[in-house]
């Protein structure tokens, strides 16, 4: 069985047919019943066989938080590390071993608060990592404090009068760091999530996938407008490369260019068909994808895009490091005795 994933060219192919079951461990899953993490775990376990690579060449690295327990439940190699540092640890791992498929699992607090620095630097370097960021807009494992993606005014244990922090939009942050692959999906939409995982796996370099995930204990319903059958089609903008951006329950809404050069949402009836923007995930300039990321309303979730915002080609950091080593060793591997002796010596007899 051969895979079609360019980013996995150097990862040994599996010679056996795999199933989701092969990726389950014997460990008891310890998330709260009803947690969105279960759906994501099932989607990932279900998707992994598609990679077509040997299970022992897959590594999941995580930080701290509910989401970061993920590696314990994947029957691959796994490291549950420390808060916020998974991208750094995964960088050392990925750069050292092109024969591995390296996945990072993180959350909104882990990736954007304590680990914000590592996230943006992994993105700008374009390390060959697939980063799954579960966003539930709350700190769950510490029992309910607001997170860097919580909406302003949120009442939590640490903000009894409402939070004063203006939130991050993770997709905008990633695009600001000029990430080469940025996507968003929803925990409960298995089919969509798996399609995004597939595209991320094909991508050479860092892929950031923000996954809207429900914490039913501390922030239940945070993404309800995007999940309820009554509202989801109305608020959700599904991005498909090469297609006009038209959405809404009755396909009556669309995206057009605004007079100031950015994008805006309009009623299909109010604009000429040729003015409706066609989604271009391959645009070199991240400005277009960034403008898309700004369309959603953080409180109501109205006009929230999901899908792939950006997917461009740039050599991965891993490949560039490898090239330098290959160039350096092509002239002959180093000779230790020559190095130690150097050029400026004297003899004592």
């Amino acid at each position: 069985m051969s895979n079609t994933f360019a980013s996995l060219d150097l990862v040994p192919k599996s010679d056996e047919k795999q199933s989701a079951k092969d990726y389950k461990t014997d460990q008891e899953v310890r998330w709260c019943p009803g947690c969105g993490d279960y759906a994501i775990l099932a989607a990932v376990q279900g998707f992994m066989p598609e990679l077509g690579v040997k299970k022992e060449n897959i590594v999941f690295v995580s930080g701290i938080g509910c989401s970061s327990r993920f590696p314990y439940y994947m029957n691959t190699y796994g490291v549950h590390s420390i808060h916020g540092r998974a991208p750094a640890i995964a960088t050392g791992l990925s750069v050292s071993r092109p024969d591995l498929s390296v996945w990072v699992v993180t959350g909104d607090g882990d990736a954007l608060s304590i680990g914000g620095n590592h996230l943006i630097h992994a993105l700008r370097r374009n390390v060959n990592l697939k980063i799954l960021m579960f966003n539930n807009r709350i700190y769950g494992l510490t029992k309910g404090q607001y997170s860097p993606t919580s909406e302003m005014g949120k009442i939590t244990k640490t903000t009894p009068l409402g939070s004063l922090d203006y939130p991050f939009n993770p997709v905008s942050v990633a695009l600001g760091a000029e990430a080469t692959f940025v996507a968003r999906s929803v925990d409960s939409d298995r089919q969509h999530l798996q399609s995004v995982l597939r595209a991320a796996a094909e991508h050479e370099g860092t892929a950031l996938i923000e996954i809207y995930q429900n914490c039913n204990i501390f922030n239940d319903g945070a993404w309800d407008p995007m999940k309820d059958a009554d509202t989801r089609d109305d608020v959700t903008m599904r991005l498909v490369h090469g297609e006009k951006i038209v959405f809404g329950a009755n396909s009556d809404r669309c995206v057009v260019r605004d007079h100031n050069g950015t994008l805006r949402v309009a009623s299909v009836n109010d604009v000429a068909a040729e003015d409706i923007v066609t989604h271009d995930a391959h645009a070199e300039d991240p400005a277009f994808a960034f403008a898309l990321s700004r369309l959603s309303h953080p409180e109501t979730l109205q006009d929230t895009p999901i899908g792939i915002f950006r997917d461009i080609k740039r050599p991965s950091y891993d490949r560039l490091v490898r090239n330098q080593i290959e160039t350096a060793t092509a002239k002959g591997a180093g000779d230790l005795q020559t190095l130690l002796t150097g050029k400026d010596t004297w003899q004592v007899s």
Binding site: Q27, E56, V61, G92, L93, S96, R97, L336, Q337, L339
Partner: protein, 627 residues
């Protein structure tokens, strides 16, 4: 002994050792001048030790005291262990250099002063009320006033270079004078200049001319009645080179990597005085070295740990403030039980402290600076060249015991240099390790399984199981693990067991390290001086000189700070008094007192500089005379 060249005849005086100090503005090229004198002297066969002494600012305003950069070199016809207490010769390129460095010149010493820079304004700038060259304040020294700048400019007047470039060559003039003074050849410096300025022929010619002019000036001036000679020191036969601590440490890591057949992955963030190791390793990609300049200290160690997990030789390099940031990740490395070398080139603290000055005040940070019971082995080199062997030892411990290891160097070792007997590569230790390649445990039902935390009965190390091996898939993390299986476990008895076994693993390293060796030639000493790290040179030097004066004193030096050599307590208890000189307020003293219940007497200084031999002799003598 007489020497004749042209019409000049000057007597050559034999000396057994000399310490010279170059001091000037940061832009005057004093480090380069010192380095050049050093390599010429090393190649001549003298033993030597150097002390670069420079400010943290790259170039503080010209002519100011904070802008003074100095370089001290001590060389001799015997074993030289320190940069010398006070110099025999001081070269002061301007009033600021004179004012800040005069105390480093011994009474009656030779003082070479660049008179051109002693303008009213320059002297006022550093607070001289009157001209020290004229007011008699230098009467206690042998002053050689030389118009270094104008003589250099005059010597270069026929060259097609700017006056500024001509003035910049004055360090070569000064070097020429010093090389003449100590009967050293100028050819090595000419070769060096050829390599450095090969692409700028005019600058090259000017520098060579300035160097020769300085040499000839020494020969002709009446200011120097004689030259000096220092014979080569006896050394074991072999190939030698001069080497600084940071370079030796870098080479030690590469050598260990070759001997372990594990490529280096260095994750690091620039910090003084450790950055040179990152610079150096970046040059050696042909040894498979990957260097990663991380976004911060934490990412540096994180990436190195990730690389160790991948099966590389993970290394991170930093100084004290960086260690503080890395603490949590070091704890993770302890919990994951993966090899990792953490190089701490210590500098003055706390906080930013004294970035370019030396100190030994990170010992307790290395020992205890983590949450929970998180023991980490500590190895400390004792001299610049010893950084090579200490790095190899740190790698040995890290890979055999699957543990992070601290390699505690310091700013003095990092930048100081000494002759190094280049080792024969085939004589270096074999550091090959074996990765896990299959099941290591049989379940009661006969199933063969892999347990990531099943330990080697001898070393107590767990298997190094790198990704890519079928059947060994496992999950590890910072959460407490069940003994054997490595599964998450919150069981109280298991945690107690795991904490103790991690400690026992580190304690067990003592079985593989050399016993503590005590130097007590007369066998009658009642006082033991015990040190660690870069204080070895001054302490050994002080003990030797005290013995020559008829005192009985024993000396021991700790290379391993955790665990200590197994016989440490036994040796300490043989002596009535134990003195512990350290460049901190008593950190090793505290550890020795706590572990062995000995009444260690601390001798402590935190001046950012190595100990002076004389001060140590006085302190030790006080104790010896008291018993």
């Amino acid at each position: 002994m007489q020497r004749t060249r042209g019409h000049v005849t000057k007597e050559i005086v034999e000396l057994d050792q000399v310490s010279i100090r170059f001091a000037g503005d940061s832009g005057d090229g004093m480090q380069l001048t010192g380095d050049q004198f050093t390599s010429t002297t090393a190649a001549f066969g003298n033993d030597l030790t150097t002390l670069p002494d420079f400010p943290a600012e790259i170039r503080a305003p010209a002519g100011t005291m904070p802008g003074v950069s100095a370089f001290q070199l001590h060389f001799g016809d015997h074993d030289i262990m320190t940069p010398g207490d006070q110099a025999h010769v001081l070269v002061a390129m301007n009033p600021a250099a004179l004012k800040s460095n005069l105390k480093e010149l011994r009474p009656g010493g030779d003082l070479i002063v660049n008179t051109d820079e002693f303008s009213e304004r320059a002297m006022t700038k550093v607070g001289y009320a009157s001209n020290p060259l004229e007011d008699g304040s230098l009467d206690g020294y042998n002053v050689h006033p030389i118009a270094l700048t104008s003589m250099t400019v005059e010597a270069l007047k026929d060259f097609d270079i700017t006056k500024k470039d001509a003035e910049r060559s004055k360090n070569m003039f000064a070097l020429g004078v010093l090389l003449w003074m100590f009967t050293r050849p100028i050819e090595p410096t000419i070769a060096f200049l050829n390599a450095k300025f090969g692409k700028k022929p005019e600058i090259l010619a000017a520098n060579i001319a300035a160097l020769q002019a300085g040499w000839s000036f020494g020969e002709t001036t009446e200011s120097f009645p004689n030259q000096f000679a220092v014979k080569p020191a006896p050394m074991a036969a072999g190939t030698y080179r001069n080497i600084s601590g940071n370079l030796a440490l870098s080479y030690g890591l590469i050598a260990a990597s070759v001997r372990a057949d594990l490529p280096i992955f260095l994750g690091s963030y620039p910090i003084t005085p450790a950055s040179d190791i990152l610079h150096e390793l970046s040059k050696h990609k042909n040894f498979g070295v990957r260097t990663f300049q991380a976004e911060d200290e934490i990412a540096g160690i994180g990436a190195a740990l990730g690389a160790s997990y991948a099966g590389m030789l993970g290394v991170t390099t930093t100084s004290g403030p960086g260690v503080a940031l890395k603490s949590e990740a070091i704890g993770l490395a302890v919990a994951l039980e993966l090899p990792l070398v953490i190089v701490d080139v210590q500098r003055g603290g706390p906080s930013t402290g004294l970035p370019t000055k030396t100190e030994q005040a990170d010992l307790l940070q290395a020992m205890y600076g983590r949450n929970g019971e998180a023991p980490v082995p500590i190895v400390a080199p004792q001299s610049p060249a010893d950084c090579f062997d200490a790095a190899i030892e740190a790698v040995r411990i890290a890979t055999v015991y699957r543990t992070p290891v601290f390699l505690l160097s310091d700013g003095y070792l990092a930048n100081g240099s000494e002759p190094w007997h280049v080792p024969d590569v085939s004589a270096l230790p074999d550091l090959h390790v074996k990765f896990a390649d299959g099941p290591n445990h049989t379940m009661p039902d006969g199933t063969e399984v892999f347990w990531p935390f099943k330990r080697d009965p001898e070393t107590l190390a767990r298997p190094w199981a790198i990704p890519g091996v079928a059947g060994l898939e496992h999950r590890i993390g910072g959460i407490e693990k069940q003994d054997g299986t490595g599964n998450i476990s919150y069981d109280p008895a298991n945690h107690d067991f795991m904490v103790r076994i991690r400690q026992a693993k580190i304690d067990g390293i003592a079985k593989t390290i050399e016993p503590l060796k005590v130097e007590d030639p007369s066998g009658k000493a009642k006082v033991l001086v015990i040190g660690w790290g870069s204080t070895y040179g001054p302490v050994e030097s002080a003990c030797r000189r005290l013995r020559l004066e008829g005192f009985d004193v024993a000396h021991a030096h700790l290379r391993h700070l955790n665990p200590f050599p197994a016989n440490t307590g036994e040796e300490l208890k043989k002596y009535e008094k134990v003195i512990v000189p350290e460049m901190n307020l008593g950190q090793l003293s505290m550890m020795l007192r706590a572990k062995y219940l000995v009444d260690a007497i601390g001798y402590n200084q935190v001046r950012g500089l190595p100990f002076k031999t004389q001060e140590l002799m006085d302190a030790i003598k006080d104790v010896v005379e008291g018993v």
